[in-house]
């Protein structure tokens, strides 16, 4: 029982880190540029599709992943140039409408290019096995790689934002655009860079999940809501918050699914517990978010407004 508990905890952490990879770019763009980007999910999807194609072309997942990064960076640049740049000073709802339009365009475009059937990337041979963990239980190697990649991304972002010149500008730009412009920083160029970087993070997340999750035209939309839940729980714009929010969502969801019915059985009939567990499990994440926002209306690490 204890070992199962630990394993599920690890699973929860792993799922959380996966969510963090997706949410990191979203919270950057949202927090620093005050821009609601519903299209973040589809860029993640495009990243996964590109990883599939590049892996097929090069015959290596590693190369496919490496090629996906500049490709999604480029997509981010182009989108910023064509659409997003014109929306920065517009109300949130206009941004919602425009990016909603982009979601429809990209989703349909992906179906036209790659077809509707789910695709996948073959797991690289070296990472495909599982290692013994506790007793009889094993853990897939690639999942450990995902955890590693997520932690590295978190650390990288922390260092960039907290300890570099560009990070300083980012933080300043988020608080006062006018002042940063006055200091001679080209705020538009800065925003272009952030946006493209955010797109690349999404693409990276897409490429990372391609070997474990299906690549299909619905994948972007599926995670978009969860990514928003994560950044809202954490407090918008806070990468630290996104990290905490992602772990919280991952652990609560995973643990609730596996131990919820067991806990419920302590207080009610087994049949009723099973039923209640089934009703509650998919709601858990939303109950968590509602509870956190009710207590802290700007999320865990959000600034008071």
């Amino acid at each position: 029982m204890t070992s199962l508990f630990l394993l599920q905890l690890l699973n929860g952490v792993q799922f959380g880190i996966l969510l963090f990879l997706i949410a990191a770019g979203l919270t950057l763009v949202f927090g620093i540029m005050d821009f609601v980007n519903l299209a973040h999910g589809v860029i993640y999807m495009v990243g996964a599709y590109l990883a599939v194609s590049f892996t097929q072309m090069t015959g290596s997942y590693g190369l496919g992943l490496l090629l996906t990064l500049p490709a999604t960076l480029l997509i981010g640049l182009v989108l910023e140039l064509l659409v997003f740049r014109r929306l920065y000073d517009r109300p949130h709802l206009d941004q919602v409408l425009a990016t909603f339009g982009l979601v429809m365009i990209v989703t349909e475009g992906v179906q036209i290019i790659w077809g509707a059937a789910p695709l996948s990337v073959a797991m690289p041979e070296a990472l495909s096995g599982s290692i013994p963990l506790i007793g009889q239980m094993r853990y897939p190697v690639f999942r450990l790689v995902v955890i590693g990649a997520g932690l590295a991304t978190a650390l990288g972002l922390y260092l960039i934002i907290g300890h570099t010149r560009i990070g300083m500008r980012l933080r300043a730009g988020a608080t006062s655009r006018a002042m940063v412009s006055a200091l001679g920083v080209d705020i538009h160029k800065l925003f272009t860079v952030i946006f493209a970087f955010g797109a690349m993070l999404a693409g990276f997340a897409g490429a990372m999940v391609a070997p474990i999750l299906t690549v299909d035209p619905g994948m972007g939309e599926q995670v978009l809501i969860l990514a928003f839940v994560v950044i809202v729980i954490g407090g918008i714009g806070s990468v630290r918050g996104a990290f905490a929010g992602a772990l919280l969502v991952g652990i609560v969801d995973t643990m609730g699914r596996s131990f919820g019915p067991i806990l419920l059985r302590l207080v009610m009939e087994p049949a009723a517990a099973g039923q209640a567990g089934r009703v509650l499990a998919p709601m858990l994440v939303y109950i968590l978010m509602a509870a956190i926002l009710a207590a802290r209306p700007t999320g865990l690490f959000g600034q008071k407004t």
Binding site: R90, L102, Y286, L293, P297, T298
Partner: protein, 314 residues
């Protein structure tokens, strides 16, 4: 003054256009037009409800599908219990929506901006998953309604045209109600609370109570849409509560131009017409629909009504 006049004219024009539509359909020999138009009217009611709080109260609810669903399920649940009257269905839907809106609104209104958007979504998702698990009513599969609601004890709504006109009458009545609300002192406080909550508090109004009341009214109106849409489709399932529907409602309101009730009706009409029309043109209509949305936003600051306004400038 002239702005009010033009809005009245526009409303007259739009609603009389709707009133004439069944005759056009008969002339063209295309009875299906009435079917699509009823669906448009249903969504127009829901969009109108959303615009009341979104446009006037600054509350962007991303969970209005829940109220549509509550309305729809009140038809399914009462019908199964043998109560088929439309009035009873409407009342039950409204009662359910008021209750849900009171509880969730009171909690949600603690938050602002994007947090409000997400917390309303959270509550709608809870409702969605609740009905997905409700095996007695088919769970995810939903339930087929054996018949439409009855009116005055008679199956009058079985006729597509009658259902259409009843829905239109409800839409017009709710539109007039919404206009009256926005012009009343209550409406002005609501707008004031959006513009400057601190000042409203200072002059002795608690914005919370006004906002919550508006939220509840809006939820109740959206449940009416659910009752009518359930009758139109003859089928009720949790799909009515899917967050897509909430998103589509927001798109409709923003597309039509926020904070001008008629815009919501126009937005619902445009969105659904575009969907039908582009669907006739190509299998990949979403691509075109998305393009049109992007172009509209880039070209206009106030939805579709803004597009036309700009052209009026000298």
């Amino acid at each position: 003054m002239s702005r009010l006049m033009t809005r009245r004219n526009a409303a007259l024009l739009l609603f009389s256009g709707f009133a004439l539509l069944p005759f056009v359909a008969t002339m063209l020999g295309d009875s299906y037009l009435v079917v699509i138009a009823t669906r448009i009217l249903g969504f127009a009611i829901a969009a109108l409800a959303l615009d009341l709080i979104l446009g006037y109260g600054g509350m962007v609810s991303f969970g209005h599908a829940a109220y549509v669903g509550i309305g729809a399920y009140s038809v399914a649940i009462l019908s199964r219990a043998g109560i088929t009257d439309l009035g009873a269905h409407l009342l039950a839907g409204i009662a359910g929506a008021v209750l849900f809106a009171l509880v969730t609104g009171a909690i949600s209104l603690r938050t602002r901006g994007i947090y409000f958007i997400m917390i309303t979504l959270a509550f709608a998702q809870m409702a969605f998953f609740f009905f997905v698990s409700l095996s007695a009513y088919g769970g995810d599969d939903g339930v087929t309604l054996r018949a439409r609601s009855t009116l005055l004890g008679r199956p009058l709504l079985e006729d597509d045209r009658t259902l259409y006109y009843v829905t239109l009458a409800i839409l017009v009545a709710l539109y007039l109600l919404a206009v009256a609300i926005t012009r009343s002192r209550f409406g002005r406080v609501l707008t004031g609370a959006r513009e400057n909550p601190v000042r409203m508090q200072a002059i002795g109004f608690s914005p919370f109570r006004y906002q919550l009341t508006a939220f509840v009214i809006s939820g109740a109106m959206a449940s009416v849409a659910g009752v009518m849409l359930a009758n139109q489709t003859g089928f009720v399932s949790p799909a009515f509560m899917n967050w897509h529907v909430s998103g589509e409602l927001v798109v409709m309101v923003v597309l039509g131009g926020i904070g001008n009730l008629l815009g919501a009706v126009a937005g619902a009409t445009i969105a659904l017409l575009l969907e039908e029309w582009l669907g006739l043109l190509t299998e990949h209509w979403r691509l075109l629909f998305g393009l049109i949305l992007v172009v509209i936003v880039l070209a206009s600051r106030d939805g579709v009504s803004g597009l036309f306004r700009r052209r009026d400038r000298p």
